[in-house]
């Protein structure tokens, strides 16, 4: 099952695309695992996710912590802290 990853703001700009569908390898259980795996996929990811702590994550359009399990996620979004309002 593939998972849709969506990127916003400077995460999107650094990775160089707004979204992509990925097959998550076995062993990727939490958001933190996902960030670690993505970071290893090339220098654009390395650049975007250099400081994983600042990356905010939403699963199926709801905010989650990095320790959250991603099992069953259709859509995972990565973005910087929000600056709306």
């Amino acid at each position: 099952m593939s998972t849709r990853l969506i990127y916003f703001a400077w995460v999107r700009e650094r990775i160089g695309k707004p979204e992509e569908d990925v097959e998550l390898p076995a062993g990727i259980e939490t958001v933190a695992d996902l960030l670690r795996w993505l970071k290893s996929r090339g220098e654009e990811y390395e650049h975007a996710l250099q400081y994983p702590d600042v990356i905010r994550v939403a699963i199926n359009q709801e905010h989650v912590e990095h320790r959250e399990k991603i099992a069953g996620a259709r859509e995972i979004a990565l973005f910087p802290p929000m600056t709306g309002g």
């Binding site: 939403a58 359009q61 709801e62 979004a77 973005f79 910087p80 802290p81 929000m82 600056t83 709306g84």
Partner: protein, 162 residues
């Protein structure tokens, strides 16, 4: 107390009209005692800023503001609650965001509007990029710690249901 109101949430590129939103909430009824509005505007940063570009996460933006608004309706005895957030390119002096809260009593309206704004700032999936008047891209606006702190103060606050 009447049934909890259903908040109005809109994410749109177009401008909004404060008076029209107040009218929609209050017209045809005479049980509302207080209406508080908050309008957030784009500042020109002393002439440096040509425009803000507001990126958002379609779908989640509506959903998240809806969740925040639903919490406000739970916490305060409101008679109406509207939140409108614009996206796209916004010039200095233009509106960005509007919150309207109506209640029988003024503190509930003030607090609910204030709460909604604090949570919008720290949880609604919007990102601002600056475009400078000298033609350069000013980059993405940094989130302010003060905004997170402002939102966190509501975690302890006991709502006044007066």
């Amino acid at each position: 107390m009447p049934a909890a109101v259903v908040p109005t949430v809109r994410i749109q590129a177009e401008d909004f009209d404060v008076a029209a939103e107040i009218a929609k909430m209050t017209q045809g009824r005479a049980d509302i005692g207080a209406v508080v509005t908050f309008s957030g505007l784009c500042r020109d940063e002393a002439g440096r800023l040509a425009a803000l570009e507001l990126e958002h996460y379609p779908g989640m933006a509506e959903a998240e503001i809806g969740r925040i608004a639903a919490e406000a309706v739970q916490r305060w005895p409101l008679q109406g609650l509207t939140a409108i957030h614009r996206h796209g390119r916004i010039a200095p002096g233009e509106n960005i965001v509007l919150v309207v809260a109506a209640s029988t009593h003024r503190q509930a309206a003030f607090e609910a509007a204030n709460f909604l704004m604090d949570y919008l700032k720290s949880r609604a999936p919007f990102w601002k990029k600056e475009h400078h008047t000298d033609g350069s891209e000013g980059g993405w606006v940094d989130a302010k710690e003060a905004d997170d702190e402002a939102a966190s103060r509501w975690k302890q606050a006991v709502p006044k249901r007066n």
